[in-house]
Structure formats: structure tokens, C-alpha cells
Subunit: 219 residues, 2 copies
């Protein structure tokens, strides 16, 4: 059995590894988990003994296959619960993270399979993050930051690369939602801001910071 703490460490290691593509450092883990670095060193030694991670002293950690599967399972649960919270309980996409952080630790495979079925086997959560299947497999899509598009591109908004409440609320306020069609009309060379047309109607100016964090697929 994996404890609550172990699950949180595994999830954090998975995410940091995805983000940086390298061994995860003690300090990075300490920072994300808001736990003292000395405590982290302590804990990862125990996790390594349990073969959940591989640990090279002073060099960092990475997930074993077993640890990776557990991490993906937690992520799967988190994202399914987020779908439920938004689609069925009426929460906004910036309100669900904390609640899903609790729900993700509920243990019952049958519950999760029934939930998945109940939700119609969603492929992504309310922020466009892909939901792995029960065996930890993703059905990858070809999304990329809007920043990488060029003038004239017609794309679909499929996810966010930044999950802060302030960014999510900015998008809500700006009336930009998952699934929207975006056409790139002008790219301002000077500051990399984009002038776009949303759903063939509204014309909007988006800063570099914003287009960097909007994930889209070319239509």
C-alpha cells in the first residue's frame, strides 16, 4: 500500500520530471511539496528502499516503473474527479484543484472505473490535460503553444500550459473557453503579442505571456 505522503511525492516527482526531463532534485521536490529539504532526503530514501523511485545520492530521483504507474493512477483519478466537479457539480475550472487533490486519494478501483464510465470516458480534464487510462497510457494529441503558430493559422484551443487561478480567471473573464476556434490575424514582432479572432466573431489582443500558455491544435 502507498501512503498519502508517498502518493504526493510520486505525483510531484512525475510532474517535475515531465517538466524538466531530468532527475528531480531534492530542493525542487521540497519546493513543490512545501516540505523541508532535509525531510525530503529522509523520505526519498525510504521510497527508494520500497522501489518506488530510484535515488542517486546528491544527484536526485526518478520514478521506477512501479512508481510511474502509481503516479499516473493518481493523476488519472485527479483529472476524472475534476471532470466530474465541472461537468456534473457546476464548479468552475479554477475551483476544482484543491477538492480533486483530496478526492484523488480515495481508494477503490471500481469507483474510478464507474466514474470514468459515468463521465463517458473523457479524454481530457477541464483544463485540457489528458487523462491516462487505467494502465497509465495516454492518447497523445498534437497540441502546441499558440506562440508557435504563424499568421493565418486556424487552430482549436485545447488546453492550458499554466494552471494558476489567475490565468484561468483571466481566460474566463476574456470569454475564452476550451474548444474555441482561434485564427491568428496579426503577430506583432516587437512584443510577440497576437491579434486573433475567436469563434469567427470577437477580435482579441493576446500578450506573449498568454499565447505561450494557450495550447492549441491546428484545424
Amino acid at each position: 500500500m502507498t501512503s498519502l505522503a508517498e502518493e504526493n511525492y510520486l505525483k510531484a516527482i512525475y510532474k517535475l520530471y515531465e517538466k524538466n526531463g531530468a532527475m528531480v532534485s531534492t530542493s525542487a521536490l521540497a519546493e513543490t511539496l512545501q516540505i523541508n529539504a532535509a525531510s525530503v532526503t529522509d523520505f526519498i530514501k525510504k521510497m527508494a528502499a520500497k522501489k518506488l523511485i530510484s535515488y542517486q545520492k546528491s544527484k536526485g530521483v526518478s520514478l521506477t516503473e512501479q512508481g510511474r504507474l502509481i503516479a499516473l493512477n493518481i493523476i488519472r483519478k485527479h483529472r476524472l474527479w475534476e471532470v466530474w466537479l465541472v461537468n456534473n457539480l457546476g464548479f468552475k475550472w479554477d475551483e476544482v484543484h484543491e477538492i480533486a487533490e483530496q478526492l484523488e486519494h480515495v481508494i477503490s478501483d471500481e469507483l474510478i472505473e464507474n466514474l470514468d464510465k459515468h463521465l463517458g470516458y473523457p479524454k481530457a480534464d477541464p483544463h485540457g490535460d489528458l487523462i491516462p487510462d487505467a494502465k497509465g497510457r495516454f492518447i497523445k494529441n498534437s497540441s502546441k503553444p499558440l506562440l508557435e503558430c504563424t499568421k493565418g493559422d486556424k487552430v482549436k484551443f485545447t488546453g492550458v500550459a499554466e494552471h494558476s487561478n489567475s490565468f484561468l480567471q483571466y481566460l474566463t473573464k476574456s470569454n475564452i473557453s476550451l474548444g474555441d476556434e482561434i485564427v491568428v490575424e496579426v503577430i506583432e514582432e516587437y512584443d510577440n503579442s497576437f491579434q486573433v479572432k475567436i469563434n469567427k466573431k470577437e477580435r482579441k489582443l493576446l500578450s506573449k505571456e498568454v499565447v505561450k500558455n494557450l495550447l492549441v491544435v491546428v484545424m
Copy 2:
């Protein structure tokens, strides 16, 4: 904040107090929580210091008003989750207890209010147990054990007085469900078994053990 352990103690004390109508003994608590009596003594002292319970050494404990409200809130959450698991996720009434035991500890008032709304403000869980409102108030009904009925009574099956899986599964197997109409046709004096007619169709013989645990309201 109340810890997981405290919530479980409060719930157990509430239920034992309801059942026996008296101060709850250390040994009764130890038995229901499957925790050593010495640990219970230890823990209830700390809970008393926090004013969650009142504790008289060697005499037992009872809930303070604060403790009672927390206990009722946990029970409310447990029962709402059970309704959801049965009505929306397709679980059977004998499959939901363990999962609800985990879900009941998720903290978010907004979640529970949204869930309650989503479920249509149910008054009872899948076993007929009443669901207290957010302020810990019950809307009592007038149910009693079928055993207390007399020949000719026409009643509605509204709940169970015993929650064991074996009893629930016996009822399922016997095709007896919450909401069924039951007419008492014959009471066998010798062994207190009841001959009943269910939903104006099926005739059934129910042992004393069973009629003791079927809760009904007279129609």
C-alpha cells in the same frame, strides 16, 4: 480543524450514544473502532481537552454540542455520498459503505452543498437512513420495526435497522427493496415469523430476525 482520527471517534461516539442512550464506554469505542482500549483512553483525553467531548474518568464520554455538530456533518457527508454512489454510479446498496467512509472525510462545504443539490436534496440514503441538513437537523419520520406491526397492517418498507452485507444481500436476493408495500397477513405466535405480501404480488415468509430489522411506516 478536526483530524481523520477525531472524525472517526466522533462518528463512533455519536452512533453508540444513539444506540444505547447512555455515556459511551472506552471498551465500546475500542471495539467499534478496532483500537486498543489504552489508546482510546489516551485519545479521548485529548478530545475532551479540545471540548469535542465531555469525559468523566472511568465513566465514559458523550459529545459536546460542538462535537455533535461535527459528527452529524460527517454522517451527512457519508449518506450523501452513498446516495450518489448508488443512484449515479450504479453501485449496489451493499457495496457503498467502505467507499463512503473515505469520501466522508473530504473537506469542502461547497462540494457537499453542490452534491446535495445535484442529488435533488435527498432525505435518506440507500438504506433509508435519514440525512441531516447542513445544520445537523433531521426531518424525522415515523418508522418502526415491522416486528411491532400487527396482522392486517399495510406498511411501506423505508429502511433497515441492521446494515450488515449479509442482511442487505439477503433482502436483494429475496427481491425486497426500499419503497415496497408490505401487508402483514399472518403472524406465527410460536416463532414470531411473519407471512407478508409484497407489492400486492409475492407472498413471503420472514423470520423474526428479519422483521426486527425491517423498518416500515404505516400507510
